[in-house]
């Protein structure tokens, strides 16, 4: 169990993290979502013991994390955002070095290296120099380097930055395997789709604070609507009765933009027929109907008033 209580960190007058708390149970994958500068990396750095917080505490399995040599650090594996590898050395040599940082040498080290390389699909390339790897392979090796000491908690700081979709999927597959083994994953990202695919729970951060901490379903409940019905009308006129549609039960919002009616509803299955029938009965024909689901981007926008990408 990872417990983070009210950690704060400032650099001069800049508050990087302002009272962040979180809990992560074994087998749970938590997404730390927020724009650049939200405090995600600082939070991860404090949990990993790279930065001492000004106040607050980090507890691993109930024991507070203190000092550089705290044995609890062995329970944590860090996958930094940068490709923290020695390009001139082979993958094997890199992993051997990183294993030795945890006093793993000899046969146990070879076993751990073999397992980690197999997991990320690089066993065949173990003796190649890292500089000859593709970007995606380096990312996978970056992940493998954090697994050698078999940590219970894995801190992943934007582990898919700059990789192609295929490599990203490969990394997701690796993480799902780790999750199935009961590892706790804390995953920072500013890609909503990653958080949506992997995380059981999402913590949204902005300006060093936690603005929401819930399951995906819980977060979507924070939204006034979870689905958007887009109806492309055959014909519109200036006195289109928007207010009449808004008054329909289950409809939360209506907007007419460039001949397309956007209707916000919670339950797509029940509200869609009702809205379409209402339009037909009143002679408002339509050409095309589609639906969009609200996502974490919408959640972030709703919670902060800003877009994730604009921040």
């Amino acid at each position: 169990m990872l417990e983070v209580d009210h950690i704060k960190k400032s650099y001069g007058r800049v508050f990087a993290v302002q009272g962040v708390s979180l809990r992560a149970a074994p087998g749970e994958t938590i997404g730390l979502l927020g724009p650049n500068g939200a405090g995600k990396t600082t939070t991860v750095s404090i949990i990993a013991g790279l930065i001492r917080p000004d106040s607050g505490s980090v507890r691993i399995e109930g024991r507070p994390l203190t000092g550089d040599t705290d044995p609890s650090k062995r329970r944590i594996g860090l996958v930094p955002q940068d490709l923290a590898l020695f390009d001139e050395l082979t993958a094997q040599a890199n992993l051997q070095l990183f294993a030795s940082l945890y006093d793993i040498e000899g046969a146990p080290a070879q076993r751990a290296i073999g397992d980690a390389l197999s997991l990320v699909g690089l066993a065949e390339r173990a003796h190649d120099r890292v500089k000859d790897y593709s970007g995606g392979m380096k990312r996978r090796l970056n992940l493998a380097a954090a697994l050698l000491h078999d940590p219970q908690i894995l801190l992943l700081d934007e582990p898919t930055v700059g990789v192609d979709p295929q490599s990203r999927n490969a990394i997701f597959d690796n993480l799902e395997v780790l999750k199935s083994r009961g590892k706790t994953l804390l995953y920072t990202t500013h890609y909503m789709e990653e958080a949506e695919r992997l995380c059981d729970r999402v913590i949204i951060m902005d300006h060093g604070r936690v603005v929401a901490d819930d399951t995906l379903a819980g977060l979507y409940r924070l939204l006034p609507v979870t689905n958007l019905l887009a109806i492309e009308l055959s014909q519109t006129d200036d006195d289109f009765p928007i207010a009449d549609i808004e008054s329909l039960p289950g409809v939360h919002s209506v907007k007419l933009e460039a001949g397309t009616l956007r209707v916000g509803v919670h339950n797509l299955a029940t509200e869609t027929p009702r809205v379409l029938q209402w339009l037909v009965e009143r002679g408002h024909l339509y050409q095309h109907v589609s639906s969009e689901r609200a996502d974490l981007e919408t959640v972030f926008l709703t919670l902060t008033g800003r877009s994730l990408r604009d921040s």
């Binding site: 990087a16 405090g39 600082t42 790279l50 001492r52 550089d68 040599t69 594996g77 940082l101």
Partner: protein, 431 residues
């Protein structure tokens, strides 16, 4: 913990040997520059023309005296003379192809003879010189003075010109109305004595004292090195200088490498492991010291095998100075890592600082060329002590006791650099 320490040291050494640039900077370049400087600085002392001053001689007189002067100059050990014409000589000096040109004017033999015995007009020898070599000009002028005096006096006291000059001078003395009568008599006696001497010298006294005026002393020159008959080896100084410079560059690479590791996130990985700061920085310092020591030994080994540089003094002292210098370099490298924020800026700043201390340490220009105050000032520069230590243990051939001060000072500098580095080091890794 020790396994981690060993692995981190091993990793640095491994990275050093797969880095072509590091190998080039630590071995190929210092060896190339050291070899060049060593040759320029006199090599192994067996290169006859290595330190001779190129001098052009122009004889426009072609008299017995002028020929003797040219011959004497040609026989000088310190000079490499070559006959030339006035125009060519001037052009050569202007272009830097010769340092000095000596032009003996027409009638020099006659005019110098007259000026030797009386108040005649003194002939003028033109000495053209390259203004960037004033020291050599002074040396050549001194040699020329001695050679001219010997050539003129020899000819005046033993040669045909001398006899003629003495008789002409006697005739002028008798006709002269300007010289007071009471001065005429002693001068006339002198000239008659010279005339008689010349007549005798032309017969029985051809050798021995017939050589004219000579320097009233001789010198015995001895280069004071480790032992008698052990020649000074310019390569010893040159390699010491280059080793000091390029090992410090290695120190810079260590520091900059640390910053690069921080930039590339590797420092995060190291700091995330349960390792003490002592292990993290200590392993880096240790690998830097081991590599520096290795580079020192390999460079001196090369100098020994190829150029005959020997540890003429204490081997233990030499190893001690090498080890102390290597540890100082490790401390310096750690300090470098705390100087700037980016590797690029730090490298630029550190190279500048290193070149200054290397220059002040006497690695490029021998220390004796520095003004006295600067020589005293360089005592606060660690490179000076490294140079002194290496030179004391190699060609000076001094004992272990002479290595004590350089070792102590270098270790002191290493400790101070290391302490400053630890105090200034940014342990935390910002997000």
């Amino acid at each position: 913990m020790m396994a981690s320490f060993r692995a981190l040291v091993r990793k640095d050494i491994q990275l050093f040997f797969v880095d072509r640039r590091a190998l080039l900077m630590s071995f190929a370049i210092p060896i190339a520059i050291g070899s060049f400087f060593g040759y320029v600085l006199g090599g192994q002392g067996d290169q006859p023309n290595a330190s001779k001053i190129p001098v052009l001689t122009v004889d426009r007189d072609h008299s017995a005296i002028s020929r003797q002067i040219v011959d004497r100059l040609a026989a000088e050990k310190a000079l490499a003379t070559k006959p030339s014409s006035p125009d060519d000589a001037r052009t050569a000096v202007r272009k830097g192809q010769a340092i000095v040109a000596i032009i003996i004017p027409p009638n020099f033999g006659q005019d110098s003879g007259r000026a030797f015995f009386g108040p005649g007009l003194k002939p003028e020898i033109a000495v053209l010189y390259d203004p960037s070599h004033s020291a050599e000009r002074a040396m050549v002028t001194g040699i020329l003075t001695g050679d001219v005096m010997q050539a003129v006096s020899k000819e005046m006291f033993t040669g045909q010109t001398g006899r003629q000059m003495a008789q002409d001078s006697l005739a002028r003395l008798e006709r002269s109305t300007e010289i007071p009568e009471n001065d005429k008599k002693p001068l006339e006696d002198l000239l008659r004595s010279v005339d008689r001497w010349n007549q005798q010298a032309g017969g029985s006294l051809a050798g021995g004292i017939s050589r004219g005026l000579t320097m009233p002393y001789t010198t015995r020159e001895e280069a004071v090195t480790a032992r008698r008959n052990t020649r000074y080896n310019g390569y010893a100084h040159a390699f010491a200088g280059m080793v000091v410079q390029f090992v410090l560059f290695l120190g810079i690479d260590v520091g900059v490498g640390l910053l690069q590791q921080r930039q590339r996130g590797l420092w995060k990985r190291f700091r995330a492991a349960p390792l003490s700061r002592g292990v993290l920085l200590g392993s880096r310092a240790m690998s830097a010291a081991v590599l520096a020591f290795f580079v020192v030994l390999v460079n001196f080994l090369f100098a020994g095998l190829v150029f005959g540089v020997r540890v003429e003094g204490s081997l233990a002292g030499f190893l001690g100075v090498s080890a102390a210098f290597s540890l100082m370099t490790a401390g310096f490298g750690m300090l470098v890592a705390t100087l700037g924020k980016t590797p690029e800026a730090t490298r630029g700043l550190s190279i500048f600082a290193t070149l200054i201390v290397v220059m002040l340490g006497g690695a490029w220009i021998p220390m004796f060329l520095f003004p006295q105050w600067l020589q005293k000032f360089t005592l606060v520069v660690p490179t000076r002590w490294a140079m002194d230590g290496f030179e004391a243990m190699t060609w000076r051939g001094l004992g272990l006791e002479a290595a004590g001060a350089p070792i102590a000072v270098l270790l002191g500098f290493g400790a101070v650099f290391g302490a400053l580095a630890v105090a200034r080091f940014r342990w935390e890794v910002e997000g």
